[in-house]
């Protein structure tokens, strides 16, 4: 079925097609229509699931953790302050090796209050042990949720995943979306059957106290799970393509990068604007490309190492900022791309915080700038884009 729907409905349909069994959620703008739709699916019987209307996001994740431990496939959705309130239990979910899948509608953090897109909320969860997938389109949101369950529930992975939609730009914008047939999804994603679950007659403790001579081994195994997630994601996407005919380019989508001199690296919906800009610059004979970061965790280090060996410059556009350092994606890209022989010039651009538009013109100027910086072979500073009072004009 091909229909028109918002990113939030794409999330809800993704969860429904994955036949989630327990949903625990708390409302927050702009996530609400996801859980409203799921509550409707449950109330009409279209989805056989338990919906727990919890009293906070912390409880939403804690309830998902408990339900998942008891063998149910669980789902929740949140945004911004809701996600950061969950922080403690996000660590719990990954430490407990529970393949929970959640949508985060990525939104700026207060103060000052903002309900609009940036990636600070998601990036702040970088170290929680969750897989993090940034999406460019509503179709990708739906497809990624289904793929995420398959990746996460693999016995070698057993870690949770966050599927990230940009606030309003995806969450509240309607696009054509192909909703796959349930039978096809069932053939792709079998029922959740964990090796261990909490059940009567089996007196085990889940999350017990361990001593210093035991703790590190648990962390080491989670690390191996995340490593496995990388390869598993690539193979799952190929399986998905085989059945549904769609793919998105693995952990890092390369768009016209083959003979590019400079590339822009970014994540989320801004990539679709950037693709237009790449096309128009290419039409003028300028050799530029786009590297879209789909997975922030596990990070596409190998892909960036390979890309860094081929290009002269990389502009990394971060939609968040790590105070005292730089954009988090920039740090990762630099760490990967500098490990090879050829060291491209890599510059960080901070843009689009709190929902500020990142226009085609801004992206064009980023491409102009990275070309100049690359020619000079200088170590560039982090540049804040389109900020009042700064000398450079972006609009």
């Amino acid at each position: 079925m091909r229909t028109v729907m918002t990113g939030n409905y794409a999330s809800a349909y993704g969860a429904k097609l994955a036949k989630v069994e327990v949903i625990a959620a708390y409302p927050i703008t702009p996530q609400t229509s996801i859980v409203e739709k799921l509550a409707e699916f449950v109330s009409t019987g279209e989805l056989r699931a338990k919906f727990i209307p919890v009293e906070s996001e912390h409880s939403a994740m804690a309830a998902c953790i408990a339900a998942e431990t008891a063998g149910a496939r669980t789902y929740t959705a949140t945004s911004s302050h809701g996600l950061t309130l969950m922080h403690e239990v996000l660590m719990w979910a990954s430490g407990a090796r529970l393949p929970i899948v959640m949508t985060n509608v990525s939104r700026a953090m207060a103060p000052p209050w903002s309900v609009w897109v940036d990636h600070m909320d998601s990036i702040a969860q970088r170290d929680t042990g969750w897989l993090q997938f940034f999406c460019e389109s509503n179709q990708e949101v739906l497809d990624t949720i289904i793929m995420a369950y398959k990746v996460c529930e693999s016995s070698g992975v057993m870690l949770p995943a966050m599927v990230i939609e940009d606030a309003f730009i995806l969450s509240h914008t309607s696009e054509p979306v192909s909703v796959p047939e349930q039978e096809l999804v069932d053939s792709f994603l079998p029922a959740y059957a964990p090796e261990y679950k909490i059940e009567v007659g089996k007196p085990m403790g889940f999350g017990s106290l361990v001593k210093p001579d035991q703790y590190m081994e648990f962390r080491y195994k989670a690390m191996l799970g995340m490593k496995e997630a990388r390869d598993r994601f690539l193979s799952v996407e190929q399986e998905f393509k085989h059945i549904f005919g769609r793919e998105y380019g693995g952990l890092l989508e390369h768009y016209r990068c083959d003979d590019a001199e400079v590339v822009l690296a970014c994540a989320g919906s801004v990539a679709s604007t950037a693709k237009d800009v790449v096309d128009s610059l290419r039409a003028r004979g300028i050799r530029v490309g786009l590297a879209r970061i789909r997975a922030f965790r596990p990070f596409p280090h190998q892909e960036f190492r390979a890309l860094g060996a081929k290009v002269d410059g990389i502009a990394v556009l971060d939609r968040s900022y790590t105070f005292g350092a730089a954009g988090a994606m920039f740090t990762e890209v630099k760490a990967s791309a500098y490990s090879g022989q050829n060291r491209p010039i890599i510059k960080n651009y901070i843009a689009g915080l709190g929902g500020r538009d990142i226009t085609p013109k801004i992206i064009e100027k980023v491409f102009e700038d990275i070309q100049i910086v690359t020619k000079r072979r200088e170590e560039p500073d982090v540049e804040w884009v389109d900020v009042a009072g700064l000398p450079r004009r972006w609009r």
């Binding site: 625990a24 912390h58 408990a66 063998g71």
Partner: protein, 299 residues
């Protein structure tokens, strides 16, 4: 023929030896009696508290029932998730229990507890009340009584002891309109087990408040746990009652022993003056009178 004594406490044990609880720990007995009443088809969730440590280090444990550890403030949410999963999986005849200390219940866990009660989660929530953050080393909680010494209410020259009253968690839970709530004491195991069995057979959210003497935290002799628990009931400091479908029923009408008999066994109250003890007596008498009035009026 002399009357033969009958064993009224189930003999089967669901706790193995090896709990790391302190000598004389009341919470050990709370778990033991509770599981004797509930049996094997029980799943427990425990947040940060003494009992998060007491089962022992991985990979061993001293409970014969499965146990889900959870974050400090999350017990109400954890039992909601467990119940939802069991329901959707069609697993029947399992008692889901949240087992938390007083700090994890009346302070940091109050929100999740309230949410679980409001959603009528089909579970039993057991609060073992040792009247302070004991696992972290005796810091005051919202459940610490007026007059008590703790490490964060030290006896100094300017302030000294806790000057705030203990939160009345039973009334808070009654206000949620839950079908059953009860207080239990380790000094009255028959009453304890009877109430847990009753709670087990009721659908919906059930709350149990157990007073749990803590020898290190209460600065008392570990050999006197039962004596102190008994005096808490007899002085009316911790009356035994239940709230069944909103109706209060006092299950043991104690003798009304002076509170000093309870207080004097515990070092945490040793600094109190006669006048301060009198003010505790007045407050305890007033509260007990109010409880009896509520019972009589059927509210």
């Amino acid at each position: 023929m002399a009357l033969m004594p009958t064993v009224t406490i189930p003999e089967e044990e669901f706790t193995y030896p090896g709990s790391t609880g302190c000598p004389g720990c009341g919470a050990n007995l709370v778990m033991r009696y509770m599981l004797k009443a509930l049996g094997e088809r029980t799943i427990i969730s425990i947040p940060a508290c003494c009992w998060a440590v007491m089962p022992g280090y991985w990979p061993v444990g001293c409970l014969r029932v499965p146990l889900l550890y959870t974050a400090f403030e999350a017990t109400g949410a954890a039992i909601s998730g467990l119940r939802a999963a069991l329901d959707i999986k069609g697993v029947e005849d399992v008692t889901v229990v949240g087992f938390a200390g007083d700090g994890g219940t009346v302070d940091i866990g109050l929100q999740a507890l309230s949410g679980a009660a409001e959603r009528r989660t089909d579970a039993i929530y057991m609060m073992y009340d040792n009247e302070a953050y004991m696992n972290t080393g005796i810091q005051r909680s919202g459940s610490t009584p007026w007059g008590a010494w703790t490490t964060t209410t030290p006896i100094g020259t300017t302030h000294g002891f806790k000057h705030e009253f203990k939160k009345d968690i039973m009334t808070i839970m009654q206000a949620h309109g839950i079908p059953y709530a009860a207080t239990v004491s380790v000094a009255h195991p028959e009453d304890f087990i009877k109430k847990i069995r009753k709670a087990k057979d009721i659908q919906g959210f059930r709350f149990v408040h157990a007073l749990s003497p803590c020898p290190p935290g209460w600065r008392m002799n570990p050999a006197e746990t039962i004596e102190v628990a008994k005096l808490a009931v007899d002085t009316h400091i911790f009356p035994l009652y239940e709230i069944d479908q909103g109706k209060i029923h006092v299950t043991r009408k104690g003798k009304g022993v002076p509170v000093i008999e309870y207080l004097k066994l515990q070092g945490r109250f040793s600094h109190l003056t006669e006048a301060e003890v009198d003010s505790i007596q007045t407050a305890v008498d007033a509260r007990y009178k109010m409880l009896l009035e509520k019972e009589a009026s059927g509210t």
